[in-house]
């Protein structure tokens, strides 16, 4: 969710590049809609995204059977740290020729690691836009 919130802060840069951004959820349409439209996880908190109603700028895609997730190798369907996890989060960048040029597995190793992750994705989008 932080990755999406951070991307939203950079939407001007994404638009300048003429890029398209998507977030895929291995969940039903209702959950995908809630993810897109409601700030359920960060809303109400004291963090910088706490007062936002919706923090997802990317087009949210429902992949309820996890087909795309399996194709891209990110499906897990497993417990992790005691909670059920459908997907291990990953970024992919695709260039104008339709080739994957970049893959990133966020590590969530610091509270603000997502900022660097999104900057890396933007750098790769710039290259992919050429």
């Amino acid at each position: 969710m932080h990755q999406q919130a951070q991307l939203r802060l950079k939407k001007d840069e994404v638009e300048k590049l003429g890029a398209l951004v998507f977030v895929v959820l291995a969940m039903d349409l209702h959950r995908t809609r809630m993810f897109k439209e409601e700030n359920l996880l960060l809303g109400g908190g004291k963090g910088k995204f706490g007062k936002e109603k919706s923090i997802v700028y990317a087009t949210a895609l429902s992949d309820p059977a996890g087909y795309a997730s399996a194709l891209y190798g990110v499906a897990r369907k497993c417990l992790r740290w005691g909670a059920w996890v459908e997907n291990q989060p990953h970024w992919f960048v695709i260039d104008r020729k339709g080739k994957i040029t970049f893959k990133l597995e966020p590590k969530f190793d610091t509270p603000t690691a997502y900022e660097k992750d999104v900057d890396l994705v933007l750098e790769e989008l710039k290259k992919a836009a050429r």
Partner: protein
């Protein structure tokens, strides 16, 4: 002589050994080499995905209803999900019991989610909102919303699972290779197909966990 006896015994025993192999997808899920426990997070996911598809598409309702009482909580959880996706309203009472009494939170989550897909047992869903586990409470709130909706979420899921994914296709997205095509639905319900937009603009795709 001894050798001959052993060889003959082998001839009789081999087919029996073959018969003892688990054959139903539920049985194979129960015997997964890497069951969905924390320590297997990065291992064996392909088999978990493949079996989930197989359990749903085989649609063996009789076996699934029995498996709701399985000793293995992972089996109870996937069974609850499968029965609701298959639209099995006859399992609603058993699912409600799991919501109320199963000691494993993952099973209660799947069971309450399933009641939402089946659009049944609103009182049980309401009760689950007060569950001691925050995850169950969260999913129960979503299920309560789904009860009010006209959308047939179970049917949407059934349709999504109807296209099986080949094992050799799993994990084929690689840097330097063409992006594999897939279909999905946008959050406002429109059909999406990656290949219709690939090649026109640079694209970034984030595969998210709900909280990641």
């Amino acid at each position: 002589m001894h050798g001959m006896i052993i060889a003959l015994a082998g001839l009789f025993l081999l087919p029996c050994a073959g018969l003892s192999q688990p054959t139903s997808p539920i049985e194979r899920y129960r015997k997964l080499e890497f069951p969905p426990k924390d320590e297997n997070f990065a291992k064996g996911w392909q088999e978990r995905v493949a079996l989930e598809y197989e359990i749903i598409n085989t649609a063996d309702l009789k076996a699934l209803r029995l498996a709701l009482k399985d000793e293995d909580p992972f089996v109870r959880a996937i069974t609850a999900r499968a029965l609701s996706i298959l639209g099995d309203k006859d399992s609603a009472d058993a699912l409600a019991e799991l919501v109320k009494a199963d000691k494993e939170y993952l099973v209660r989550i799947r069971a309450v989610e399933s009641l939402g897909y089946l659009k049944m047992k609103p009182q049980v869903i309401q009760m689950a909102i007060e569950d001691r586990d925050l995850g169950v409470s969260w999913v129960a709130k979503l299920a309560a919303d789904q009860l009010k909706s006209d959308t047939d979420y179970a049917k949407q899921l059934r349709e999504a699972y109807a296209t099986p994914i080949q094992r050799e296709a799993m994990g084929t997205a690689k840097v330097g290779q063409p992006a594999p095509d897939f279909t999905a639905q946008t959050s406002d319900g429109k059909a999406f197909k990656l290949s219709t937009i690939v090649g026109k603009k640079p694209i970034a795709i984030y595969f998210a966990a709900y909280d990641g």
